[in-house]
Amino acid sequence: MPIVRVQEAEFDVGRELDVLTRGRTDVGALASFVGLVRDANEGRGVTAMTLEHYPGMTEKALDDICREAAARWDLLETLVIHRVGALKPGDRIVMVGVTSAHRGDAFAACEFIMDYLKTRAPFWKKESTGEGDRWVEARSSDDAAAQRWKG
């Protein structure tokens, strides 16, 4: 049962990861990822960011992605937390955690979830730069990253 949360509030990475392993002795591997707001994107300075999403569909999409990962690899738990609303450089945006008996499964599933999240979960970023606000455009490199799992 994937753990999926979409929230404005900051999250505590260590505490969230602890939940995935605490009291268990069958976890051999915990792979995780945290995405953060950078102060620069495509050469422009970024002073703030707003994340819009599609409530309802977002949670479903993240849940589907986790379930697809669990169908592909031998996993114990999957966790995705994604923030929305106003963020600033250095803030955490997203975290993914995956547990498995073995590291290969945990690594692959964690990267798969991030790649699919980047192309399938309905979030949109608007950046504030010195030149005003602009919607971040989707990147073809993200499409390519998601595409390679199709093979």
């Binding site: 995405g35 994340l51 819009e52 999403h53 599609y54 309802g56 569909m57 479903k60 999409a61 994604h82 945006i93 997203v94 991030m114 999240l117 980047k118 192309t119 399938r120 979960a121 309905p122 979030f123 949109w124 970023k125 608007k126 919607w135 971040v136 455009e137 989707a138 990147r139």
Partner: protein, 84 residues
């Protein structure tokens, strides 16, 4: 009736985030709904012009032009996603 939702840059382009429209005999698919929206005028025609990158979801599942519409559906239009 179907509920239409618009997100992000597309929401700003059409200056609308949510509306309800009747489902007529001519609007049985996403494609025909889009034709109806484009006929509203320049702003709408441009937002959904051929070659514009936008995505459609029906009832919160990714959909395409051929996806059929039924009364009560929630249809969302948005640009390619950029989360994570």
């Amino acid at each position: 009736m179907v509920t239409l939702l618009y997100f992000a840059s597309l929401r700003e382009s059409v200056a609308c985030s949510r509306e309800q429209v009747p489902l007529t005999a001519d609007t049985t698919t996403v494609a025909s709904l889009l034709d109806q929206l484009r006929s509203r005028g320049e702003r709408w025609a441009q937002a959904f012009a051929p070659g514009k990158a936008y995505r459609v979801a029906v009832n919160q599942q990714m959909a395409d032009l051929a996806t059929p519409l039924r009364p009560g559906d929630e249809v969302a239009f948005f640009p390619p996603v950029t989360g994570g």
